[in-house]
């Protein structure tokens, strides 16, 4: 669906993408990574907004450098930040976007109405876009990306600024498009649950490089054991965490007072207990867990 071959993109002295080579499969693919990882730059390069310093890119079998217009006729782009055509109501805006994509005027207006109903803006379609709430603006951005019936959708942080209910509805729409409507989707997000809910595959980006990629279920397959662990140590848990990491165990803190420890091989809890005993650390809680996408992300980007 999309391939990048040794792509490097720089803004002045800052390199946003460093020699990235990757192939996105059809279906729903998540582009996951912290802010500044290069996700948006990758999408903007694929749309031709940014010309790479080196490398080649192909979208839907077409070379980005040679056929940008043919590509843009087949893809939809939902930008990350607030974006609309000023002075238009929603239905005019979306129909205008359809006409820009080559649809005849009558078809454009019909599609605009349909798509606005689909994204949940049917009742508000005659309101000026500038009066919309943040959540509604997210929906209208999806509608304008969808109106010309693209084969591939680039969604850049689609749930940005949405309330929980709106976020759930947006994720449901993305999931429906990808799984039921035959639209290929690349969802860029730094929110793990969003990617996990909507996508079947993930590409983890970090500091301009691809840190991990593959089917989410495959990446979550344990190559060892994961434990939830809470300890009491004389000098706090930091020293013990450092000891675990020095021994080659991956360990990262969660929101609670609990750390998640990945133990490769079959030694499991026995190894943790032995190390705790050696360090005179009390193990207050230890429970086997299943790997999550968060673990994959943490392993891939080396998050502490």
């Amino acid at each position: 669906m999309v391939t990048l071959d040794s792509v490097t993109v720089s803004y002045g002295t800052h390199t946003a993408l460093k020699d990235v080579s990757i192939a996105f499969e059809t279906g729903a693919v998540g582009l996951l990574g912290p802010n500044g990882a290069g996700k948006s730059t990758m999408i903007k390069s694929l749309l031709g907004f940014v010309v790479p310093n080196q490398g080649r890119m192909r979208v839907l079998g077409l070379d980005v450098a040679e056929s940008p217009l043919q590509i843009r006729a087949k893809v939809g782009y939902m930008p990350e930040n607030d974006a609309h055509i000023p002075g238009m109501n929603a239905v005019s805006f979306v129909a205008y976007c359809a006409e820009l994509s080559g649809l005849p005027r009558v078809d454009a207006m019909q599609r605009a109405h349909e798509v606005l109903f689909y994204v949940g803006l049917g009742e508000a379609r005659y309101r000026n876009v500038e009066t919309y709430s943040t959540g509604m603006k997210q929906r209208i951005k999806l509608a304008q990306a969808l109106v010309h019936d693209p084969d591939l959708l680039f969604l850049d942080e689609p749930t940005n600024g949405m309330d929980p209910k709106g976020r759930d509805e947006m994720l449901e729409l993305v999931r429906d498009l990808a799984h039921n409507k035959g639209v290929n989707v690349i969802v860029s997000s730094h929110l793990l649950p969003d990617i996990e809910y909507t996508c079947t595959r993930v590409v983890v980006m970090d500091k301009g490089r691809v840190a991990a990629q593959g089917p989410i279920d495959g990446l979550k397959q344990p190559r060892g054991q994961v434990f939830e662990l809470r300890v009491k140590a004389p000098g706090g848990p930091d020293g013990f965490i450092a000891t675990l990491r020095a021994a080659g165990l991956e360990c990262h803190a969660t929101d609670d007072d609990v750390m998640r420890v990945f133990v490769p091989g079959e030694e499991g809890a026995r190894r943790i207990f032995a190390m705790a005993a050696a360090e005179q650390v009390q193990v207050r809680h230890l429970r086997p867990s299943v790997p999550t996408l968060e673990d994959v992300f943490a392993q891939a980007v080396g998050e502490e």
């Binding site: 002045g12 907004f49 043919q70 000023p86 238009m88 349909e114 689909y118 010309h148 019936d149």
Partner: protein
């Protein structure tokens, strides 16, 4: 259950070839402007001089006592010069927000994610100004020519002044292109259409003021090329085969207007992008 399916459906209809999106942009822009009463009022006002000139032509062709009002090349030249006042207001009203508003609303990334080039976007925006400005310059001037033929009942004047139609066309295009591109370039520099309007007024009045100061010191009009409106007036005189009003070489006026167009194009090339990079 609704009769009509309101879910998402794939589209299997026709799609236009790429390369015509500029017409969509131009049509939408013109429609938006014509929906504003103030703008329609301004347009109607800009046709008042046409009515005055039409009455003049009627009188000259039908009343022997009004022969001194008979039209000539200078009359058409003066008509177009007078229309520059309306050109100024229409350019500010319609042009200031053309790109500035899109930049404020981050619309450029929406536009450029569609199958259109930056050149098409710029041309679409330019076509809005081009058509509106020609509506108050070229169109009434040509209609005056037609009216003259109709009132006189003969082609004598038209055939004697065959250069007039191309002169009106060439001069109107030079006026509209230079003014329109300059306004678009200024509009691409800011997100505030008010600020752009002030910038444009500054370009016109400041260059005129500079020339005014130089002329009052030197007592000579050789430096008239410093003022954009004076350059256009000089070009107008040359195109309409009249005695040039300033003592500057004709090529200098053309050079300044050419430079203005080139700088405007360069600014647009640099500013109209799908992503704003601050390196």
């Amino acid at each position: 259950m609704p009769i009509h399916d309101q879910g998402y459906r794939r589209y299997a209809g026709l799609r236009a070839q790429t390369g015509f999106a500029w017409a969509v942009i131009a049509r939408a822009g013109i429609r938006t402007l014509f929906a504003k009463r103030a703008f329609v009022g301004l347009l109607l006002l800009s046709w008042v001089p046409f009515l005055v000139r039409a009455v003049q032509i009627y009188a000259a062709t039908n009343l022997p006592q009004a022969q001194f009002l008979a039209p000539d090349g200078r009359m058409f030249r003066n008509f177009l010069q007078f229309q520059e006042v309306f050109m100024f207001f229409i350019t500010v009203y319609a042009g200031a927000g053309l790109i500035a508003s899109d930049r404020r609303a981050n619309a450029l990334q929406i536009y450029l994610s569609k199958p259109l080039t930056r050149l098409e976007y710029i041309f679409g925006k330019f076509a809005i100004l081009l058509s509106l400005l020609l509506l108050v310059t070229w169109l009434p001037a040509v209609l005056l020519l037609v009216i003259q033929v109709m009132f006189a009942g003969s082609f004598t004047f038209f055939l004697k002044n065959l250069y007039l139609l191309p002169a009106i066309t060439v001069y109107s295009i030079i006026q509209v292109t230079s003014v329109g591109l300059a306004m678009l370039a200024l509009s691409s520099l800011s997100k505030s259409s008010r600020y752009v309007g002030v910038l444009y007024a500054g370009l016109i009045f400041f260059s005129q003021a500079v020339y005014g100061v130089v002329e009052s010191i030197s007592g000579d009009s050789t430096m008239a090329w410093l003022s954009v409106p004076m350059d256009l007036q000089q070009i107008g005189d040359l195109v309409f085969r009249l005695e040039p009003r300033f003592h500057m070489p004709g090529w200098s006026a053309f050079a300044v207007i050419g430079l203005l167009i080139a700088v405007s194009a360069a600014v647009l090339e640099r500013r109209v992008r799908g992503i704003e990079v601050v390196a």
